[in-house]
Symmetry: D2
Subunit: 357 residues, 4 copies
């Protein structure tokens, strides 16, 4: 246990800071003979890449991934897969001012106190740069899961503005810069975020990830339950402050009568649930329904508005975090959260297999 590995049987271990020469990861436990090429990973990295719209940071991170091992003649060999992205847009000069001041809401203060040293250039290890490798590992996890399982994320709330579920359209998600399934809300968010951006502020968001096609039976009660591992996976992502499975906090207001997902037999002779308050997990084991996770993301801590803080010497001071920031880091959180769900599912698929005779 040293903090930079995720997963049990399907696992990945990452390294890298925002301003080092490279970031990378080792994906381990991947079964052999799975087709995998750099394009499979690059596809998902593009989705996370900054600078694709004016609503994400304008930093340039080409994020070109390279497979260094574990793949031979186009398929996995069962050995660890080394992945690497060379860092390119390292404008270290930008970060002089925050060298000694702790940015409120960032990990500057806690890293300083914990480690007694801090790579102050752009957040170092605590930078969202690290999440590129989660996306890369998630791309491998998707290949392990196969095409029968579909994982899709989207934003359901930006600041106080929620989507209208009656307008939910899977096809809209990739049609706007917010991964928003509600075209009307997407339009509203555009105006709203422009305003936030002009204020030099930022805003939080809620995103939802759905996995369809997960069979019944995945999960390892009672401490490595599927939902427990999902909760850990999501909460480990930068800026995440809350995780819900199924109805989540709404379940607190429900009666047992309302909350019961009743079961009938389908025409195909398989059980059919009449509702999905549970979010596809019962007793920590997938039920065969859609697995539904929601994640709360706090507003980007880097803002162009002056805030009060202290420096490493214990002096009080004020700070404006200059630079190119995401007005709503929740947007780019979607592919990251998708990737983490893919990794958790691949891991639990394999754990489940281990116990089958």
């Amino acid at each position: 246990m040293s903090g930079n590995r995720f997963g049990h049987v399907f696992s990945f271990t990452t390294f890298g800071e925002s301003h080092g020469p490279a970031i990378g990861c080792i994906v381990d436990g991947v079964p052999s003979q799975i087709p995998l090429k750099e394009e499979d990973i690059q596809f998902w990295l593009e989705k996370r890449k900054p600078g694709t719209s004016r609503f994400t940071t304008q930093r340039k991170e080409p994020d070109e991934v390279r497979i260094l091992s574990g793949v031979f003649e186009g398929v996995t060999t069962g050995t660890p897969i080394g992945l690497e992205i060379i860092n390119q847009d390292q404008r270290s000069k930008d970060y002089g001012e925050i060298k000694d001041k702790f940015r409120p809401g960032h990990a500057d203060y806690t890293y300083w106190e914990k480690y007694g040293i801090r790579d102050y250039r752009g957040g170092g290890r605590s930078s969202a740069r690290e999440t590129a490798m989660r996306v890369a590992a998630g791309a491998v996890a998707r290949k392990v899961l196969g095409e029968a399982i579909d994982i899709k994320g989207y934003l359901v709330q930006v600041g106080p503005h929620k989507i209208d579920r009656s307008r939910f359209d899977w096809n809209e998600i990739d049609n706007n810069p917010f991964f928003c399934p509600d075209p009307v809300a997407a339009k509203e968010w555009e105006d709203y975020l422009d305003e936030i951006r002009k204020e030099g502020s930022s805003i939080g968001a809620v995103l939802e990830i759905v996995a369809r096609g997960v069979p019944v039976g995945w999960g390892q009660p009672v401490y490595d339950k599927l939902d427990a591992d999902l909760a850990k996976a999501m909460m480990s992502i930068n800026a995440v402050k809350g995780v819900e499975i199924g109805d989540g906090f709404e379940a607190a207001s429900l009666t047992g009568v309302e909350n019961a997902d009743e079961i009938r037999m389908g025409e195909d002779g398989k059980p059919v649930f009449l509702s999905n308050h549970a979010g596809g997990v019962l007793g920590g084991i997938s039920s065969g329904q859609d697995v539904v996770v929601r994640v709360a993301i706090k507003p980007t801590s880097s803002i162009l508005v002056e805030r009060q803080t202290i420096d490493t010497q214990g002096n009080e001071c004020n700070l404006i975090t200059k630079g190119r920031h995401d007005p709503c880091v929740g947007i780019r959180g979607v592919p990251v959260a998708e990737a983490m769900m893919a990794c958790v599912l691949a891991d639990h698929m394999m754990l489940h297999r281990a116990q089958q005779g």
Copy 2:
């Protein structure tokens, strides 16, 4: 990785079903020379024990814990601590009807599909009975943490009824059967729950756990962050559907300006945060502020109202879950969630120590 162990360096492994001869756990990694006696554990088990008011199940579980190893002459020896509770109130006859029918909202269906066999007596391993051992392990964790760290939980919402934070009183928490810090809300909940109980239904709840005295520096970024492990710990508890750190889902509606926990220097020369939106965790590392976690609990799935389901043969049927059920399982969730927080903190205290020169 096999599902029934929690923790990295401070860990516990549990066994036991609701209707087997005993439940037990092994707490491992406990430092030596810590005073520990059965009363220290029993104290917390009493808090979780059913039947203490009409708002919890009337099952009788004396829950008398016995220390079987790891303690010598009143102090821990650094060897594993074996704990055991003999099950006493095993009315197996009650459970005949649910032998073949899947109770909606319970893990009956998923256990059946995953394992192909199910101890149908009272939920077997998926019963909340298992949480007694979490409380026992948590009691040991509290001793490891020492008295400088205080962990306290309480209910902040029962069904749609929330506490009024302006009436928050730490001293009220143990004065009512709901661990409610707001005496007015406690009164309302009493009437509300009587009604729910009479209907044969149940209701959800939200509980909050606060750890005071946690020093800055605990947490292992980027995958074993303190909040990530807390999220896993909480989500692994039966009936939990959501976890929040600090502002949680409220953070989605905040701007970066509002969300920034500004820092000043205190009169004692130590940093003082002017707010705690972060809930005491920054970048996955404790900040020295109170660690604040909120947990959503779904309504008890066992209700006296008929619901539609199927049986193990795939026949559609209806089911009333007779028996002695908690109308609001969230109440007894408080000591369980407290215990899990204690375990996570003890674990991270030790992990942090490992890295100190």
Copy 3:
């Protein structure tokens, strides 16, 4: 990681001291629907039980195991299996003299220095008593492995006296108190050990464990190789000082020409190795040949001959370790080493399964 758990997916965690009220273990990760009853475990415990001949300690340990969970109606349920043995022959009065003196060769000194406290009654946690639970876990592992895999151990050397491989007879192993496959050697050892016993001394031994029927493919290179995990398993047993796979240290004297296990095709169309210098493991993966492990056991440290030592106050003193000791602890090591091999194999069988599509 806290020291008292063994295994990855199939795992067991143990607790208990020689003079506490009970010892126990939790076997986790066991697949469901495997027939298991207490007799299945008791059978192997009898093999390890002291007092079965004059060549083992005369302590009385009935070692009656009880299954507390994880088995329902005669088969495993996939939930953790709690096992317990009540300690009965706790003659604490015997141990007064060693309360403050460190027995040479024992863990008294290191436990004292590490933990600052020591359960001096009979070795506490470092007592061979703990190995009863390894045997119990191993019995479960054998059921998981199934009957196609046969694990058998025997002594090949007692003190300087080795068996003659030309007289090797599988059927002799259970015909003498030494698990000796060579009837002539067994006779020699009898006289030799009587002499050792009369001197109040003890003697070392070498045992060999063979697993037949292990299919090709088990093992997780490059750090969790099958042989690496076997080495750890064996070296973790009390009194073990050396581990060999296949030719072991003899391989140092071989040339590459001699050491090559050449391969031909058998009449059944399967590969046949012409020798087994490798001991059934190539590159950390089972080859389909017999897995052969040898283990060196040091002489029992408790002897009736006076030795020089110090006490907890740092005073020099002499010590005779009175009591009922095994003259050759290697004998009772056989079922323990067998059990550890069974656990490693069950674990790797499941790990291998996890990666199969």
Copy 4:
């Protein structure tokens, strides 16, 4: 658990094949503020590097390591340390002949059966190339351990030729191409190995690693004992077939009277052991004496002498493994085994710290 990570709190995860673009590793759990530069690692890589004498393979592997993360301004930051070596001497054309034939003694057959695919170029993942990263991780571990702990390895046997312990000289070890502490033996080995090399054969060896300065108290009984983890570490190295702690297999021939490491008080008021049969480990915990491990290495499996084997189609055939091979792979095993000991010790130092109040 996926096979390519070693260690608990101080851990490293590696990737890379002999003929891929690069090999690398992530060292995790390293405390912050430890000075570390590439030269610190390169120093030990040079020791392992092929081609330094005619007794090792003539392949050219410059093995220039690059630190990609985790170090800032010359000291560690507490974040994961990414290390990478670009592979340069990849003569893929050499390996055409072994593409379809299984080299006896190599992992070709087992990888093929396990994974159904095999990177046949030079052994792929099972190549000794992988050990470069163990050496790199070990270099970091040495820095974590600090200068008070000295780890030194040497050969004590090549083929049937052992050193004479009476001629043991620490200063000779680096004076000959065999890491041999006995100058007379070194001379003999030179002639002997020339002969072996001319025959196109290879030979095994025994190496010994000693750690001086390890304090009393490291080790996590009863399954993660210091010696158990050392055994696993050593057995996981390519070509290793046996591991001994202290007297190892010799202990089988000793009586309890002989084997007892008696204790006296030294002039400095500290305990002094009169012998070290135990090899510095008692009950799985370091005793403060030198930790002594011996490792048996089989002869290089790649030889220029024809051996019988089969191909992937199940056809019988003969094979000569052309190429540039180590006549005695045990020589280059010394820095690898040293590195593994350093990693185990660093890990256990940190685990021990975790439990100190």
